[in-house]
Subunit: 367 residues, 2 copies
């Protein structure tokens, strides 16, 4: 088992990474301060892992209840968060209760947001069961839900008491979801770690066959990269924006197609290529860099073209409603080089439009 510490002063917490951790109650149950526990999961994950978590807590000081929600990004809404709150109210859980999020990023974001709002804040623990959640949404304290007009527009910063990343849960992850998670892994290499980018190019085949050692290494380096950035910028004033590399384009794609059409990681994969291409237009990357990045994304089995139904005008409109707009100016995370990202709002809007007009499109678009 590997342990990473996310350093946020009083809100610091550990990330446990390893195989079989769901059963290892003694490792993580000491991070649940009270007696009342609500494990929130979804219809896909619950049959596989819910009993292991409740059994890990049985016979001890806990009173454990469970809530199983429908599975899918389309359920990441205020209404679903409200169902968690209703359950907590019906159980009469008090301020010492803990919510455990067992599932992917949607369950983590929903459960974390409910934990942030219930009684103005109760404890929660993340147990991410997808690669995407393990390397991304379980680290950093961002919680929230989507609005029909934009992703993640409603939420709170609320740090977990700990994160339990059981690599073994990735065995049951569908191929498409697994590859979508790789998009975020690749992102960490691109924005902050050229060495890791090289390691990914060398070890992608091992990752694709889900070799445990390769997976643990990829999750650990990804979490460490994110944890380092978050520790230096908890409330997203500056540096943390780098984590959004590919996301402004990606969110536009997800919103434009309707939530649930494309997986988040798939949209981010295309978004990263679009951001790389814009970086090339602005003179920061050369064509070989872009080809290298595209090749890695292709090998990971991720989409590399934007959806045909989103023309340049629609893209611009969708991007304008993104959270990253400040004072009317669009800020984008671009690449200074492969392995180093930067926030820019000083580019010629004409270059963005030209990119959106020329970037390859695909018609049949399901990832």
């Amino acid at each position: 088992m590997k342990v990473l510490q996310v350093d946020l002063g009083q809100r610091s917490y550990p990330i446990y990474i390893g195989t079989g951790l769901l059963d290892a109650g003694p490792v993580w149950s000491r991070h649940l301060p009270g007696r009342q526990v609500l494990v929130v999961s979804n219809e896909t994950v619950a049959p596989l892992y819910l009993a292991r978590v409740t059994e890990a807590l049985s016979g001890s000081r806990f009173s454990v209840e469970t809530l199983t929600l429908p599975d899918g990004e389309q359920y990441k809404t205020l209404d679903t968060a409200s169902r968690i709150l209703d359950t907590l109210m019906e159980l009469r859980y008090d301020r010492d209760c803990t919510l455990v999020a067992l599932g992917g990023g949607v369950i983590g974001d929903l459960t974390g947001f409910a934990a942030a709002c219930y009684l103005r804040g109760v404890h929660f623990v993340q147990m991410p069961t997808t690669l995407l959640a393990q390397v991304d949404s379980s680290v950093g304290g961002k919680t929230g839900v989507n609005h029909p007009l934009g992703k993640n527009m409603i939420g709170a910063f609320h740090q977990p008491r700990c994160v339990v990343a059981d690599i073994g849960t990735l065995d049951t992850l569908g191929e498409r979801d697994f590859r979508a998670g790789l998009a975020e892994v690749i992102k960490y290499g691109l924005i902050a770690n050229a060495t890791f980018l090289g390691w990914l190019e060398e070890n992608l085949d091992a990752l694709l066959t889900r070799e445990p050692e390769a997976l643990a290494e990829a999750v650990q380096v990804s979490c460490r990269t994110k944890a380092d950035i978050v520790a230096r910028d908890e409330r997203e004033r500056g540096l943390r924006a780098l984590l959004n590399f590919g996301h402004t384009f990606g969110h536009a794609i997800e919103t434009g197609l309707g939530y649930g059409t494309l997986l988040h990681g798939e949209a981010v994969a295309v978004g990263m290529l679009m951001a790389a291409e814009l970086s090339r237009r602005l003179g920061d990357l050369d064509a070989a860099d872009c080809t290298r990045i595209r090749r890695l994304v292709e090998r990971a089995g991720l989409p590399t073209a934007a959806p045909e139904k989103l023309d340049a005008q629609r893209f611009l409109s969708l991007m304008a409603s993104d959270k990253k707009v400040r004072g009317g100016r669009l800020r984008l995370v671009l690449l200074a080089s492969p392995g180093r990202a930067e926030v820019r709002d000083d580019f010629d809007p004409g270059e963005l439009r030209a990119l959106l007009e020329t970037f390859p499109r695909a018609a049949a678009y399901t990832g």
Copy 2:
């Protein structure tokens, strides 16, 4: 104009108290960091004061929009907060936007909660137009909405950039609402300031005729008392609980009758008398103290009996779902003496039951 500073480190903010402040844009508009402003009000307050606020901001750097919500505690719901979020999304407001809450406690709590959740937190300014909001809900950073099973169970801590308490707005406040506000003013005397309690007994008639000097003094001392307590305990770990004097009983009454039947301050008035009576049973107050407190509440025109339809069993059940329950034990704020409150969870539950069984009831119960 009086200015109080609430000292919360980076989240410190001023409270401006005086007459005509709604029009005094230069006093408070510098606390709005960005260009986009949404003033949220309700159908009662908007016709009276909304134009004054928007005019105070006109001709300057601001782009001002307004949203008028229905009036009443029964609208303090997640659904109404969601309407504010919908408006912000439709306006495409960014992270530098400011929400201005113009109204009573319901508008302040709803707007503050929406500001806490939108893009995981944007700025907001409180412009309380009721006595209750001026002395209570506008100070301290508590925001939130009610759940059908309990008051203020969903929310966030989110501090305003400033509070603008225009005493002049109290001129249009209905008599019943005004008296409900006095309940919280009396509370500050009872929990922390015996001198102020004496002052209130001497100046109650001046307050009841709404003499501006008396009102400004009462609002200032109340805000200072609350600000002092909040500054020492922002996240409600201990001391801040004293502010809930009368509220656990009061919330049970409000929930038991259904929101909107009784005003919050009216329920708190009864709750304070119930807490005082329990303090007497536990030997901390003598009968003369209780009579003195009851007399002041009576003179303020506030209810002094509990609703007949809530018997002891129903009361206990309602109080058990209060946020103040920890580890299954009910914690109540009681009086050590008139002017000094204390949190207690060590009392004999039989005394609480006996109080609930014997406390005076009234049948016709509309405050």
